[in-house]
């Protein structure tokens, strides 16, 4: 099986404070991976290292077998698309214009979009069920709709890997399931590698094939949801008394938080 991302002994620091310490993991093509961990554990920082917004101090990140620093910005954008946590867009662009922006990596400075580009944009809108929004302003649609539009923009990049930074954090439960089901669909139908940073452990466990648990900048567990979601791991990372049971309806581990250990 080919590797989508290989991270080897990665260190990253902001000034003097070390944020990520000796991170090692591999993600195969076509996996659905969740990165979980308490606030400040370095999840988003790790994500930003994987798309070259941050440059690691040490270690290597390979995307599709090639070192990330050897990629030009546009080349990398064809491999990896990101759906950021903050999806605010200054000024009133239409949904269609926003999704067209995803074609940027394929266009030269003196080139404008071709029929094929618009076709891809249309397909992306259809796949995320946002075609009916195309003429609306990006600032006048709901949070759930906006999240789907930004996913459509990422799809228009035709990436092999999609990274999402807390894609469900501002959404109600209906829209949370809607977004994750959409990602699952992209994962199974288009065999796209999906990597999400997420706080909801139960949702993560239900949809992912692999989970990475981060704490204080280090990976404390990596593997199948059942291997990662254990009493010991969660207790150590979150400082919390929990019960782990089985969700009979979704056939995935189910975590019930009880009390904080600090009190």
């Amino acid at each position: 099986m080919e590797m989508a991302i290989e991270v080897e002994s990665l260190y990253f620091s902001y000034g003097d404070s070390l944020i990520l310490r000796d991170i090692n993991f591999k993600i195969k093509k076509g996996e659905f991976v969740s990165i979980i961990g308490p606030n400040g554990s370095g999840k988003s920082t790790l994500l930003k290292n994987m798309i070259s917004i941050y440059k690691p101090n040490r270690g290597s990140i390979k995307i599709d077998g090639k070192e990330i620093r050897e990629y030009k910005a546009k080349e990398l954008a064809k491999k990896i698309a990101i759906v950021p946590q903050d999806t605010n867009i200054a000024y009133d662009f239409s949904v269609f214009d926003v999704v067209v922006m995803g074609r940027n990596p394929y266009l030269g400075r003196f080139q404008s979009e071709s029929y094929k580009d618009f076709q891809i944009v249309e397909d992306s809108l259809k796949l995320t069920d946002t075609l009916y929004l195309k003429d609306k302003s990006i600032n006048q649609i709901s949070g759930g709709e906006r999240q789907r539009v930004i996913i459509a923009r990422a799809l228009a990049q035709e990436p092999e890997i999609m990274l999402l930074d807390e894609p469900t954090s501002h959404l109600d439960i209906n829209h949370q399931i809607e977004i994750l089901s959409l990602l699952k669909k992209l994962n199974t139908e288009k065999s796209m590698t999906i990597i999400i940073v997420i706080h909801d452990i139960n949702l993560a466990a239900r949809y992912s094939s692999k989970m990475i648990l981060l704490n204080k900048g280090e990976i404390i567990s990596i593997g199948k949801p059942r291997e990662v979601i254990t009493y010991e791991n969660i207790e150590m990372a979150y400082n919390l008394n929990v019960v782990i049971t089985e969700n009979l309806y979704t056939n995935s581990p189910y975590l019930i938080p009880l009390t904080s250990k600090k009190l």
């Binding site: 698309a81 950021p84 926003v98 990596p105 400075r109 979009e113």
Partner: protein, 357 residues
């Protein structure tokens, strides 16, 4: 169904730009004609065409008095063309800065260019230096140097490693601007006899400007406007946030630096010949955005055209309203621009409430 939709938009855009261009040409002819001398628009058109290569000899100019030739060709035409160039440059820079800084308050002077130019100009006015270069006056050269120096200072203060955070750039721009303005005010307090001259310069004017000012800046300014337009898609994508833009394949820092250099250079050029004309660079891009949306591919060229038209409109009023005295054009741009902008804003607000956009 989609192709139709797209080609319609593209077609609309080209038509829009074509219409604006025609309006600009008409405005040039009309505004070059208006004034104390009794010249008709058709005479102006004939005079201009008679000087063009190839078609010039086909126009009948026998009945037009020689004095009209001199007024149009030596005085009005260069002044109007200079107005178009300055208006187009300021509006383009305003549009690009508002996009790049993601801040609707940004204008061409936001990073301290105007204060630098004003200080440079006042130093020259006070010192009474008189060395001209390329036929440009020493005040122009002082203003240009002042503008470039202040931009460099602001840029190097804001630079951290290889990055220039936008907020730091804005803040240091304001701080450096205030400092330069303070120094200028101090100089004005000491040299009270030059205060009038300095104040008039800072209000901006095309009074007694002509070919000498127009010729050296035409090619660089037109070239800069053209280059800026090639960055319109980058500007669009950067409005979604710098990290997003980076993930969509934009070399954000390189694009920012390029735009900054082009804009600072262009602003310094036009400010050096016209003084600090306010409002055009702030308001015109907003008006375009309110009417046709934020896409820089149409916003930048339209801003340039409308900026040019608006500037010569304002300048015509400036030189005729209390003729023979000339009002600094910066006063007129604000007096006419602000109410029109407020009107658009109110109209847009109503449209939002009633649900029709």
């Amino acid at each position: 169904m989609y192709m139709e939709f797209i080609s319609k938009i593209k077609c609309n855009r080209s038509i829009m730009l074509l219409i604006l261009f025609i309006v600009l040409i008409i405005s040039i002819c009309v505004f070059a004609t208006i004034g104390t001398a009794n010249i008709s628009v058709s005479e102006t058109v004939k005079i201009v065409i008679s000087r063009l290569p190839y078609i010039g000899s086909y126009v009948d100019i026998d009945k037009i008095p020689q004095s009209h030739f001199i007024i149009i060709l030596k005085v009005r035409l260069p002044r109007v063309l200079l107005g178009v160039l300055v208006g187009a440059a300021l509006s383009s820079v305003g549009a690009a800065f508002q996009g790049m800084f993601k801040n609707p308050m940004a204008d061409p002077y936001v990073i301290g260019i105007s204060s630098g130019a004003a200080l440079g100009a006042s130093i020259i006015i006070i010192s009474g230096l008189n060395i001209s270069l390329l036929k440009l006056s020493s005040v122009s050269i002082g203003a240009f140097l002042g503008a470039m120096i202040s931009t460099f200072i602001v840029y190097f203060i804001s630079k951290i490693k290889n990055k220039v955070p936008i907020n730091t750039l804005l803040l240091s721009g304001i701080a450096v601007g205030q400092l330069f303005t303070a120094i200028m005010s101090f100089l004005m307090v000491i040299h009270t006899k030059d205060v009038n001259k300095i104040i008039f310069w800072t209000l901006g004017s095309f009074s007694s400007k002509g070919w000498d000012e127009l010729i050296p800046i035409t090619v660089p300014v037109l070239f800069s406007i053209a280059v800026l337009n090639f960055f319109s898609r980058d500007l669009n994508v950067m409005l979604t946030g710098e990290e997003s833009a980076r993930s969509m394949g934009i070399e954000v820092e390189r694009v920012k630096l390029t735009i900054l250099v082009i804009c600072a250079f262009m602003t310094a050029m036009v400010v050096s010949v016209s003084g600090i004309i306010g409002f055009v660079g702030l308001i015109i891009p907003h008006i375009i955005r309110l009417v046709i949306g934020p896409d820089h591919r149409i916003l930048l060229p339209s801003s340039a055209l409308v900026g040019g038209i608006f500037m010569i409109f304002a300048d015509t009023i400036a030189r005729t309203i209390i003729s023979p005295t000339e009002v600094p054009v910066g006063i007129i741009t604000a007096m006419f621009g602000a109410p029109f902008f407020l009107y658009l804003l109110l109209k847009k607000k109503k449209a939002y409430y009633s649900g029709v956009k």
